[in-house]
Symmetry: C2
Subunit: 137 residues, 2 copies
């Protein structure tokens, strides 16, 4: 019942950029230190974020990364989908496959409300909505 580690890192990195929209680039080295993410693993994740067009990269010396689109246009659900997290509609609590009203699993009734709130959170929260002040990185 947790987000993949990779997704967590990705959210934290993207959130960092959303809160530091000064006109400068941040290198993987800097990010790794600031966010306490293993450097080598971070660069791997950055590659994915670049391909997914959340992040723009400038190569070479003095290069680095910056956000590729406004924070308001990046939803949590998009980030999670990039890492195959929460993406499968099978993410249902007892994973018994596709269910109609008649044929449900034992936890269905209890699960619907929390599930709805979770979906809402992931679908409606953008980087812009995230808390920015006084936050851990």
């Amino acid at each position: 019942m947790q987000l993949h580690n990779t997704s967590q890192y990705a959210i934290r990195v993207l959130n960092f950029f959303a809160n530091h929209s000064d006109d400068r680039l941040y290198s993987a080295k800097e990010l790794a230190e600031l966010l306490s993410i293993p450097y080598k693993f971070l660069t791997k994740i950055m590659g994915i974020l670049v391909k997914a067009e959340f992040i723009k990269s400038i190569q070479g010396r003095e290069g680095g990364y910056e956000l590729n689109k406004p924070a308001s246009q990046i939803k949590l659900i998009d980030i999670l989908n990039t890492f195959n997290d929460e993406t499968d509609n099978e993410s249902c609590i007892l994973g018994v496959g596709i269910c109609d009203g008649h044929n449900k699993c034992a936890l269905h009734d209890q699960w619907m409300q929390p599930k709805g709130l979770l979906r809402k959170m992931f679908e409606e929260t953008t980087l812009e909505n995230l808390t920015s002040a006084d936050c851990k990185l």
Copy 2:
């Protein structure tokens, strides 16, 4: 964002017993077929459920399993804890460790409400509360 497979199986098995409290034992073979759980994996899980005292086992020929306590006394949270699922209080959405009011992660505000509902569901739902009629096994 899903329960461990093992926890799912465990819940389904225990729920099955809660709904079949006739005075007979069920063997691993039967359960595996009825619930479509790989036999060998099921026996492994049953061993854990027995040690955790959710289930009582009768060995030898004509042996099998039965519930070890009333369904009303088995909470979902207890089952999950048995499989190290949801157990760590670190199961917090961005896993940034222990947080006080001042020092929180970026998702904290959005996460509190769904998290609360989830905890409530796991802590307050017992085998007795689970839907029993017209349900998949």
